[in-house]
Structures are given as C-alpha cells and as structure tokens.
Symmetry: C2
Subunit: 214 residues, 2 copies
DNA sequence: CCTACCGATCGGTAGG
DNA sequence: CCTACCGATCGGTAGG
C-alpha cells in the first residue's frame, strides 16, 4: 500500500533505515533544508549510495511522506474504538494530538515542527494527489463522527466540513506552541483539546447552540 | 519601532520595495526556497544591489518578518473595538481569519501558504526573541478577552492560555485548507469560525459546560 | 555500496 | 546601483 514508489529492490532493511532517517529530517527541517548528504550521513552511508534505493530526492521524499501519513491515519483510526459519537470524538482528537506531540518528542528535543500538511505542499502537483487522498480519509472519519452525532442529537454543528477542518487544523499544529519542558504533559493537552472540541460541537446541549444569546 | 535593523540608509523607497517583494516571496516559498536573486529580480535590480540596503539575507528576512507581524498584530488589534467580550471575541477571530485569507489572496493566486509561525521559527534564536514578543502581544489580547468574559460570566473556559493557543492555531492556518475558488468567501469563513469559537468558550451558557453530560 | 567528479545555484564580496 | 567573480554546497552521474 505504501510501496508504490520503489528503488531497484534488494536489501529492504537499509532502504527502511534511509526512509526512517529521511522522515525524521524532512519533518524537522523541511524539504529544501534537508540535504541528501545529511540523510546519508545519518544512515552512515555516502550520498550516491542513496540513489541505489531511491531514484531522486523527490522520490525519497514522497516515500517518506507516504509512510508518515499512513502511520498517522492508521494510528488515529485504530484509536477510535468507541460506539457513541461523543466518546469517538474525544478519542479522535486525543489520538491526533498525542501522535503529533510524540512525533516531535521522538525525533530529538528540538524539532522545528513543520506540519505534514506544509510538507505535502512542497510536492509537485502530480504526486500530491495520492497524499491528499490519504488526508481526505482522515478528514472523512472526523466528518462521519460529527454527522452521526448531529443526527442522533448529541452534537450541533452548522457545517461538518468546516468544523472538521477547524478541529484538524487545531490538532495538526499543536506542536507550534507546545513546550515539552512545560508543566503540561502531552496527555494533558490531549484531554484539554478534547474538551474544547466537545464544547465546540455543543456536545450535550444541541439546542440554541449555533446562535448563542448575545 | 520596526526600524531596528537597517541598511546604510539612503533611498527609503527602494528599501521598501525590496521589503515588500521579500515579504511576499518568503511567505510564499519559505526562507530557504527564496533566493536573493528572485527577490532582486522581482524588484528589478541585481542581487548585489540588495546588499546596499540589507547586510544579509537573514537581515532582510528579519526585517520582513517584523514588518509582517507588526501589520498583522496592529490590524487585528484595531479590529477589536467592541465593549463586551462576546463581540470582542467575534471581532478578534474574524480579523485574524480575514487577514490570513486576504494575505494569501493578495500575493497572487497560488500561495503555498507557509505560516508566519513556521517562518519565524527559521530564524536564529537571538533574533527570534523580538518576534516572539510581538506574537505574545497578540496572544495576550486574546487571553484578556477570554478572562474578561469568564469573569463576568459570559464565557466558561478551563484554561485561558491553552484555549487561546487553540483558537490562534485554528485561525493561523486557515489557508492550509481554504479554497479561494470554492463557494465560501473569506467573510463566510470568518463568521463561521467566530461561531465555532464562541461555542468553544461556551458563550451564553457558562454553566455545566466544561463537563458536558456524557 | 564506494571514489571521483560535474554543472548549477547558492549567498556574498571586490571594485567601481 | 552595476559587472565580474568567489567559495561552498546542492542534487545527481560515471564507473566500478
């Protein structure tokens, strides 16, 4: 599923090590600021060796972003296990936030934290399609939750599409302000954001909601 | 106020033209992807001429980001004219959203829309301070509104700092999904976001809010 | 997977 | 504000 783009085959292990290093550096520094030399260096090989596994820097980038998006979408999807929309929404938001914060944690202290969405944007239009489709599935999962909740009367949202975008954006860029050294744990932020989002969709009080009293 | 960093003086007009071109390109493409050649080209001069007005690319970038942030913070601040917190919050959110969407509009159709926050991040720690301080003023304006509203009982927020971050993040990256060709105008999105935020802070129903019925 | 190497582009300087 | 030019780094190739 994530194997559309491929080098000349061979040792899958070192290919994976390159992919891992590349993913970390691309997320940290962005596409332009990450040199193939730096990626190769981190893996412990020389730059030309990289071209045996990937035909170009763009190719490597595409493969890295596909893997990253797959792992993200899958992780969030698997975290949403509840039956009722309120709990589902809580799980969705928390999973998104935790994944983002753990990712910036894992890649070594000072991530400049460039969003996946921005990264995807630096691909040529052609290759962007596949990734946008993956993002779309994430969006649709959320929209489905919002629509279910609205239908059975536990949420009240004026426009599920815009509301979904607002929620995702809010979660997607948590790391832009989150301080790992601060007093709040990633878990705390996840819980806090869940509550904010539940308020946002008027969970538990679906009446007189989109037009609050002035 | 925004004149801390300066070239050797002289013709202020061409300095401003450089600044304007640089701002647009930096916002569009990011720091690394914007070459001094491209900036000079857009102004209609040669790259070396640029170094008469600015001592380095970093310097030019810093000046551009300071100007951009000043205009942004000032614009939002001036838009918040109401007395009561509910209306103030509405104005704040709408002003933030509109500024962002108009900016990406103005710089010519296809902005890759890299956030100001990400741009600021690509500065060396030393120069970043001044810009973070400006962002802080924007944050504090919002926090003040939230706290006032909570005090007089029209809002209910558990943590004004996190709530403020959530709101700002949501607005800051509107352009990451907004489609100017779509059926929603920037105005529509501003109104929609205002309502979402008012729900988020439980405007008009400050009771039983942070703990909605399950 | 390596050494050796290439053309292009980068930010920036010399000198006027 | 220009021409001429520099060292460094970039992604990528040749050949093994």
């Amino acid at each position: 599923m994530a194997e559309d783009v491929q080098g000349r085959g061979g040792d899958g292990a070192s290919r994976d090590r390159i992919l891992e290093a590349a993913t970390q550096l691309f997320v940290q520094d962005g596409y332009k600021s990450t040199s193939v030399k730096a990626i190769a260096g981190q893996v412990g090989i020389t730059p030309p060796a990289l071209y045996w596994h990937f035909s170009s820097k763009q190719d490597l980038f595409l493969a890295a972003m596909e893997g990253l998006l797959d792992s993200f979408v899958l992780s969030v999807h698997d975290s949403v296990t509840a039956e009722d929309p309120t709990e589902k929404l809580r799980q969705f938001v928390k999973a998104h936030v935790l994944w983002k914060l753990e990712q910036s944690d894992a890649s070594g202290a000072y991530t400049s934290s460039i969003g996946m969405r921005d990264l995807v944007h630096s691909l040529p239009a052609k290759h962007r399609r596949a990734l946008v489709a993956k993002q779309r599935r994430h969006l649709n999962l959320l929209r489905g939750i919002l629509q279910d909740g609205t239908r059975i009367g536990v949420f009240s949202v004026a426009d599920s599409r815009i509301t979904a975008f607002a929620i995702i954006t809010m979660c997607e860029y948590v790391q832009s302000w989150y301080d790992p050294e601060g007093e709040l744990s990633a878990e705390d932020v996840g819980d806090c954001f869940s509550e904010l989002v539940l308020s946002m969709v008027n969970a538990g009080r679906p009446d007189n909601s989109t037009k609050p009293v002035a």
